[in-house]
Amino acid sequence: MLRIDNLTVDHGAIRALHGVSFNVEKGQLAAVIGANGAGKTTLLRTLSGLNKASEGQAHWNDHNILHSKPEKLVRHGITHVCEGKSVIPELTVSENLELGSLWRRNRSESAQSKREVLELFPRLGERLSQRADSLSGGERQMLALGRSIMSKPELLLLDEPSLGLAPLVIEQIFQAIRDLTTAKGLTVILVEQNAMGALKIADVGIVLNLGSIAASGSAAALKDDPAVRAAYLGF
């Protein structure tokens, strides 16, 4: 279970997150939605160790995860996929995938994970020896997701996987995220601008506004809440 208490993060003089507290149960997919600048990306970057928290606590499986380096948190099952198709363009598709499992130092388990990824995204299998910059936007997002699976995550932090993708591709990616969560029993925090799409596949939803939680609850309830719809879903 992920427990976040009173999390506060500053970027210099600007307070990006202000006293944020929420829990996510194991196996749940939580959608974090909100406008630009609401603190969604900061939240993920703090949980994965890229940003420093000023105050508050965050625990994953009763381990305090603040003040740890990202490479250490990966070893505790926390994997973060950054915004914008986070792949290394100069490396091949295969190398991008293998990168995620290097720390496991176990060839047979890594090969097993690779087979799972290629089963989930067969298109990557056709392009293994190509450089990642030859892929389409959707394929790159698949590759970024695939690499995170290679790290054998328990808590997956996804930052705007739908960014810049065609509607049909977004649907595929969202479906893949939902399937993965269920099949592997992952806990997922999905940060999205595409609030409607994210709430459709999520179990719970958290609405951030200017660094604080504006609303939270089951995804279905949030989706139908007239106040949330008007303020954050745009209809």
Binding site: S48, L50, K69, P70, E71, V74, R75, T79, H80, V81, C82, S86, V87, I88, P89, E90, L91, E95, E98, L99, G100, L102, W103, R104, R147, S151
Partner: protein
């Protein structure tokens, strides 16, 4: 005809040594975005270690690998205890572009001063381990000697090993990933800080080899104020830039190109022009093909 072939042979041998120095510079640039002027000082210090071991053991074959190890340790030490804390503290204050340059220039001075203090006027002898008298082909002695052949062999062996390490091993994948995208690499679980130190260590070993080969191919002895090493550093840099500063293959091509052009100038124009010619080539490359021989089409990456 003999003269041209000899000139080419001399150029290729010297160029292969510049290639090693260029590799040393490129490796540090790729792993930490630091322009490492201290590389010349590290090569010098490692060569003194090599000379000391040669004096004790009498064997070049023990001195060279141990000098490489010493170079790797010196280089990793400097990265870990000097540059890493410095870069962490500098942050984004506008000076972070100059900081590593000034720092490595300062280090170069410090290393030379320390060597001067230890060795003073004494020199370290690194004579050629093999005869450097050219093979005789159809009655004429050519510029290819057993020693030159050995230099080419050592450089080739190192380049093949480096290529295998970078392209075929997990360490190589970590090194490449960390240099292209440190943040993504961290999130994938790579210990980027450690990998950077390893990158510096490999650079130090390459620099040590360049230093020792430069000495045995040249005067046969090192001194703290060695002009040979100043040339090695400058030509290594020019070669790295010609090659595109990002690429190991580029560093090799840059080194060989520079070596051959300089040898031709030395033979047919005049020795006093070699230094100027190196800079002229550098300026021409920066004007005509700023991304280097091997470089992204989009131009130089910061």
């Amino acid at each position: 005809m003999f003269e041209l072939i000899n000139t080419l042979l001399i150029g290729i041998t010297a160029g292969s040594i510049y290639s090693l120095m260029a590799i040393s510079i490129v490796l540090v640039w790729r792993s930490t975005r630091v322009v490492n002027f201290a590389a010349g000082g590290l090569a010098l210090a490692s060569s003194f270690v090599g000379a000391a071991i040669l004096e004790k053991t009498g064997s070049f074959w023990i001195a060279l690998p141990l000098a490489m190890v010493a170079g790797a340790i010196f280089s990793a030490f400097i990265e870990y205890f000097f540059l890493r804390p410095l870069l962490k503290r500098s942050g984004d204050q506008g000076a972070e572009i100059f900081l590593p340059i000034i720092a490595t220039l300062g280090l170069l001075g410090i290393i030379k001063t320390i060597l001067n203090y230890i060795y003073g006027d004494r020199i370290g002898a690194l004579p050629p381990p093999l005869p450097d008298k050219g093979f005789v082909v159809s009655g004429e002695s050519i510029a290819l000697s057993p020693m030159r052949l050995l230099i080419l062999g050592i450089v080739l062996l190192l380049m093949i090993s480096l290529t295998l390490i970078f392209q075929r091993t997990n360490l190589g994948l970590s090194l490449r990933a960390s240099s292209f995208a440190p943040e993504i690499s961290r999130l994938a679980g790579i210990r980027v800080d450690f990998i950077r130190t390893v990158g510096w260590a490999i650079s130090g070993a390459a620099g040590a080899t360049a230093g020792i080969l430069q000495t045995t191919n040249g005067s046969g002895s090192v001194s703290p104020e060695s002009f040979e090493f100043s040339l090695l550093l400058v030509f290594g840099f020019v070669a790295a830039v010609i090659g595109g500063i990002e690429s190991l293959v580029g560093a090799v091509l840059g080194g060989l190109t520079l070596g051959i052009i300089l040898a031709i100038i030395l033979m047919y124009v005049g020795g006093s022009l070699v230094f100027i010619a190196a800079f002229l080539i550098l300026i021409l490359v920066l004007l005509l093909r700023p991304q280097g021989i091997i470089g992204a089409k989009g131009g130089r990456r910061a």
